[in-house]
């Protein structure tokens, strides 16, 4: 009798312990982080599903784009952004840039990769083309043409969230040719000094130059694959939802782009898949119902104020 009482207490205690472990595993998703299974978050620079192969392959000081350290990604991003602003000059507008950075950096905090080496920064470009660029590491550039297409803050948030997702997925780095990375990692692995001698420095700079060309030509000419664009759209929906914006704004923007872009045009049309296909891809995630959150008058007011004289 006594033994059975003890064993029933024991089972109860074990059951409670098991329940608490289960409950913790299911509930742990604080902050804005989470859903990394949906968007494919970055963990220590190793993407899910590729971790195993990366471990096996890494014998020297790296092999693929995942072995580019955040610090190196930062220098790549700076050069890519410098190239973009050399082609599309910025539109100096302190008031708008402050608004753009407040919105953009708040959205970035809600991404699966809120921390990059140098952080996320946003800039308005003086161009009527409808376009936006994400340089590796978080330097994001948006044209006036694209901003003018937005009718609400939620629309602009959708554009920025899409670009943030490209940074999160390290899509820019993926366009660097593998042969360049192999050369770079060989130099990094074999050269001792922190500051390189003239020969390795010259070789590294050559590889760097080539890598920047790979990325800028992808951003400005060829564009990403439909798969990467779909990934960025999915990531954008997640970010918008986490912050409290209407994810349907992405569909509104894509619909607007479909109207404005001319097939065979030089801007977004050239570097992005047909907006119609992208809408079909994300429709199931967004739902077809009306906007979840009506745009508040305060949000409308500050958006309109920021857009004045743009």
């Amino acid at each position: 009798m006594r033994l059975s009482k003890e064993s029933s207490i024991a089972s109860l205690v074990f059951f409670c312990a098991l329940l608490s472990v289960l409950c913790f595993c299911m509930c742990e998703r604080p902050g804005w982080a989470g859903f990394s299974d949906i968007v494919g978050g970055v963990t220590d620079n190793v993407l899910p599903g590729q971790a195993g192969s990366a471990v096996k392959a890494a014998v020297a000081l790296g092999k693929s784009f995942q072995d580019i350290t955040p610090e190196q990604e930062y220098y790549i991003g700076r050069a890519v952004a410098a190239n973009v602003v050399s082609t599309y000059p910025p539109s100096p507008n302190d008031r708008f840039d402050l608004y753009l950075n407040t919105l953009g950096q708040t959205l970035a905090e809600a991404s699966d990769r809120p921390e990059t080496f140098g952080g996320y920064h946003f800039l308005l470009l003086d161009s009527s083309e409808i376009n936006a660029f994400a340089a590796p590491g978080g330097l994001i550039l948006v044209t006036r043409g694209m901003v003018r297409l937005c009718k609400t803050e939620d629309d602009l948030a959708a554009v920025l969230a899409h670009e943030i997702s490209h940074v999160q997925g390290q899509h820019g780095l993926k366009s660097i040719k593998n042969s360049r990375l192999t050369t770079a990692f060989t130099i990094i692995g074999s050269e001792a000094a922190k500051s390189y001698g003239p020969a390795p420095l010259s070789k590294l700079t050559e590889v760097f130059q080539g890598s920047i060309t790979d990325i800028t030509s992808t951003l400005m000419k060829s564009g990403y694959s439909r798969d990467l664009e779909r990934e960025a759209d999915k990531g954008a929906v997640t970010i918008l939802r986490r912050v409290g914006y209407d994810p349907g704004a992405l569909i509104i923007m894509l619909t607007e782009m479909k109207k404005q872009l001319k097939p065979g045009g030089l801007d977004f049309a050239k570097t992005h898949p047909d907006p119609k296909d992208r809408i079909e891809d994300i429709r199931p995630l967004v739902g077809s119902g009306p906007s979840a959150t009506p745009v508040s008058p305060e949000r409308r007011k500050r958006f309109d104020a920021a857009m004045t004289n743009l």
Binding site: G31, T69, E71, A82, P114, E115, A184, A192, T205, R302
Partner: protein
């Protein structure tokens, strides 16, 4: 009686392990400037800074956030994207570390670095970095974000606002 006590202690330990999920270990800061927060959220108040390469002791994990202790004995939460399991070796001049795999170490300042950027800029005088440097000064504080969210009647989900 003895059996009952053992069962209770065992149960208690198991229950505790489930709640806190202690995750002790060491990780390195892989961003230029990191912040430790009072809660596992970006809107949590800032406890203090951690810098690139600093080794932090991990205490526990909650979702994508880790509670860590810095070398200066600051304790706070930081997002996992700011940390790496690799050891970040600063000032790695001297012997080549070719024996170490990229899974174990990240050599700070190696590869594409400030010297490579300087050389690249020398070779490409037309590429202007003025605006890139200016962009990097555009920073929004936690307080600015909180009032931006409040003013815009935005309510972050998943307990983001703490």
């Amino acid at each position: 009686m003895k059996l009952r006590r053992i069962v209770f202690i065992l149960g208690f330990v198991l229950a505790l392990a489930g709640v806190t999920r202690s995750d002790s270990g060491t990780m390195s800061v892989q961003v230029k400037e990191g912040q430790l927060r009072s809660t596992p959220s970006f809107l949590g108040s800032i406890v203090g800074p951690v810098s690139y390469g600093e080794r932090v002791e991990t205490m526990q994990t909650q979702g994508d956030w880790l509670e860590v202790k810095s070398p200066k004995n600051l304790r706070g939460w930081i997002h996992k994207s700011a940390l790496t399991t690799k050891q970040v070796v600063l000032n790695s001049g001297g012997k080549a570390q070719s024996a170490a795999s990229s899974q174990e170490v990240a050599l700070a300042g190696k590869g594409f670095n400030a010297d490579v950027e300087a050389q690249y800029r020398k070779n490409n005088a037309a590429v202007d970095y003025t605006w890139v440097d200016r962009m990097e000064t555009m920073r929004v504080s936690r307080d600015q974000m909180i009032s931006f969210l409040d003013q815009g009647k935005l309510k972050p989900s998943e307990g983001g606002k703490k």
